[in-house]
Symmetry: C2
DNA sequence: AATTAGCACTCTATGGTTGAGAGTGCTAAA
DNA sequence: TTTAGCACTCTCAACCATAGAGTGCTAATT
């Protein structure tokens, strides 16, 4: 299997034209749109070869070609980088404006997902920052009512985390204050992972050490498990993806929404991606989800103070603009990292 | 215009059959499914009259009848109450189980919306509890990092409210503590509305009164506006509504999603409803949104300690099961009120 | 006066047919 | 190795034709 220069050009052309027109690409189209100095017959020969190699396929005998997953893979790995579509100044400005308005972390995540949706015309997805490797900086309890206490836990990187806890008896402000002092004293500077494990394992140790607070540790034992919290996921606008021609048959759309609303599968896929590399593109069947075989997911890491914390993604049909999506994710990832770190 | 008993029965039959089958209802159908002791011709005569009065319409000359908005309105106002579909024991148990798992308020709202979606097979919507009429019970500041402070404000009903504030200079823990003490001292027991207004109006008063804290009031002035927070809205599963036959043409679906994602319109509609009455049903064109003329919204209030706080809704096609939806909303509203109040 | 049987009429939905057009793949020539 | 030329294939849209579902009207019946 030899892919010469011309074949690369042709494959590239097919991908491009198919991405923009959503219709099978003919030899005629390739020549005319790219002004190639070769005949359509020559192009057809190459197309035949590219199909034989598995990069292209035809919906039916007398139709033009469309890329296979393997074709997109080759495009993404070998051809795309040369022609990354950079964002326009307006787009960049637009992104920055939106971030200026967002105040709290939830809003920042929401804005991020919406921006990705809008700029890629597909579904933007954001995984909220993970803080399990952070260290404990502060903890505070507030009584909401006689059955509920709100714990706010702050980490060294300025992220925070909240949990409502149910209790069966009144606990005085003083006792809550004392508890938080103890926790700070014992755990300040330790990673949440450690705090969590040690607290759960050694609860009786603390129970004996600080006897005055006996009733409270029992409550905390049941309530204070930081890790059980599942990853928060944010979705941007779903309306753009609805308009993609691959979803004009409702059935496909049903599959897509069932998949999205299941959430866990998607979270798994995204998490696996950021573990691998800074940016990861998963195409169609590579997702390993039969019902999603006509979709791709692009995932980009984002950082907080230089450390990997979460991911932002684009979910769209395999016929998506990979180049544009990568640019969007790159730029937004930088903005997001900057905002979170500041 | 006289609607006799038989005509009511027939109108009721049309609504029922159309709701379950999503297909125009013929005279034959009505007689056979309802075992009426009259001929189809008689039914046809009544159908003609009901159409003349505007309760029914035909998609085309030789088709059965479907209800108009006016027809649904009559059904909902006059016929429905006699035959409310109560939830089964399993459904009730299912709801309770789900609420047991939910811990914090966000989870409770999310679970609520999902339950509504599942049980009605349409889109569940929840407006988070409004706390502007609550009084201030506690306030606490935590430093996240040198640029960000997290304020947690607790109200007398055990709800809380958070805001991240940006600052340009370090503020010591002591100063933050002092500030919160001052706010508590000045505003404890006052409604958030009042706190908000007075704080913003009299900021200079406090500035002079507590001079040691000069730099801080400036920051608070810009950041601490409780009311600007817009109403939080939660959506359940969108996948059920996708499967409704009225949305098998993508275009309708596009309208629906554009409307949903706009959010503001829907929030306005829901808020107007709860202001009116405990339960409110808005049918098709009554929504006043051209693109949503084939949809209805049912809204139910929910309480916290006996006071109106928010709303739960069902959004679906006008051909939705109003009776079932009302039951679902009723039951869930009670559960939700109970959980929030406990 | 109300109901019903009977029947003509209307409209949709389905399936089959046709022809145009798009695009390929092959062959033979350049 | 490239290309012109052409037969071949398949889709798509348009156009029937027909079956059948359901109505509305008229005249008969209760």
């Amino acid at each position: 299997m030899i892919i010469n220069n011309r074949m690369s050009t042709i494959l590239n052309a097919v991908v491009h034209l198919y991405i923009t027109n959503a219709e099978p690409v003919s030899s005629e189209m390739i020549v005319s749109y790219y002004g190639l100095a070769i005949s359509t017959a020559t192009v057809r020969n190459d197309l035949q070869l590219l199909e034989k190699y598995g990069f292209l396929k035809k919906p039916h005998t007398s139709a033009g070609r469309i890329p296979t997953d393997k074709g997109y893979r080759f495009y993404v790995d070998q051809l795309m980088e040369k022609e990354i579509v950079h964002l326009t100044e307006e787009e960049k400005q637009d992104i920055k404006e939106h971030y200026k308005i967002a105040r709290d972390y939830n809003e920042i995540m929401k804005v991020t997902s919406v921006l990705i949706s809008r700029l890629t015309q597909n579904l933007g997805v954001v995984l909220a920052p993970n803080m399990i490797k952070d260290t404990l900086k502060d903890i505070h309890f507030v009584t909401l009512n006689n059955q509920r206490i709100l714990a706010t836990l702050v980490t060294n990187s300025g992220l925070f985390f909240q949990k409502m806890m149910r209790v069966n008896c009144d606990i005085s402000e003083e006792n809550l204050e004392a508890i938080s002092q103890i926790i700070k004293k014992e755990f300040y500077g330790k990673s949440l992972e450690v705090v969590n494990d040690e607290m759960l394992n050694q609860i009786y140790h603390y129970y004996f050490k600080y006897q005055t607070l006996d009733s409270i540790w029992n409550l905390i034992e049941n309530c204070f498990d930081f890790t059980e919290e599942e990853t928060k996921i944010f979705f941007g606008n779903r309306s753009y993806i609805l308009k993609q021609p691959e979803f004009k048959e409702i059935e496909r759309l049903n599959y897509l929404f069932d998949f999205i609303e299941e959430e866990d599968n998607l979270i798994k896929i995204i998490k696996k991606s950021i573990f691998n590399k800074q940016i990861d593109i998963i195409i169609g069947s590579e997702l390993g989800q039969e019902i999603m075989e006509n979709c791709s997911v692009i995932t980009r890491q984002y950082l907080l103070k230089g450390k990997l914390r979460g991911a932002i993604s684009v979910l769209g049909p395999t016929r998506m603009n990979y180049s544009k999506s990568v640019s969007v994710l790159d730029f937004i990832s930088h903005q997001l990292s900057e905002i979170l770190s500041e």
